[in-house]
Symmetry: C2
Subunit: 153 residues, 2 copies
């Protein structure tokens, strides 16, 4: 299946290369950046200011191929690619939740970027509801966190 | 930019056509369905059982073209496509959070499907954390809900 994907814009990020992005257990993303839409898509942002958080779908444009059971930074044991956020996926689409800080025309200032500078943006969607924390189970990631706590420092 | 997207599988859903899917204000999705991965991707599900919720990225394969400021079922006023979940988007990728009920090999039984039967799946990711409800603002959607409450029944 061939699909024409058009970048709707690009990320401006303080992260220049993959090693700049916090990774692994407990990594937090507080970096601020800008989602710069192409001028022809600006109208699509109408009324977006009212939302505090957005989903950003973007392209892992600097990774190639895919691995079904990769080892990821958060653990020394391999896990399925669909049970992880590893970049080398059958369809290299990434998903990040960002906080919307403000809008200037076609530019959205956001907090929480884990993308590299220049990353192509595929879509933006409003974040509408959360899974309640008491209903959430986090599988191997929670186990890896527990193991790390028990390790001698 | 031409990207080769490969469906990793297909959704089995009780919804046969768009009108079967609950839409508009207060619509809730409790329908159960199955994410049927192609056998060659089954290894990518390793350890997914430990997660209670998943992101499913899928293709709006039955919509064509896009509209930047559509009218959507939740409101009688138009809003930007990136401030909505409207299907006619520049890149027709959809995002749904589902609850994982169980796995049989390459089949994931899930709750919360709002996809049509036969929908191509592009990616599955673990749902790792939520935005706390007290930090969430829902813009025009919250306003449309308020207006509806004030309307005479």
């Amino acid at each position: 299946m061939l699909l024409t994907m058009r970048p709707i814009g690009y990320v401006r990020s303080p992260h220049r290369e993959a090693l700049d992005v916090p990774r692994g257990l407990g990594a937090e993303h507080h970096a601020e950046g800008v989602l710069e839409l192409l001028p022809e898509y600006e109208a699509g942002l109408t009324d977006i200011e009212g939302f505090s958080h957005l989903y950003v779908l973007w392209l892992f444009d600097r990774s190639e191929g895919f691995e079904l059971v990769p080892v990821v930074p958060a653990d020394d044991r391999p896990h399925g690619v669909f049970a992880s956020r590893a970049p080398r996926r059958p369809n290299p689409i990434a998903l990040t939740v960002v906080e919307l800080l403000g809008r200037d025309g076609a530019r959205l200032r956001v907090r929480g970027v884990d993308m590299l500078d220049g990353t192509p943006i595929l879509d933006i969607k409003p974040y509408l509801s959360s899974v309640p924390p008491e209903k959430l189970r986090r599988g191997w990631l929670a186990e890896a966190e527990e193991r790390k706590k028990r390790e001698p420092a």
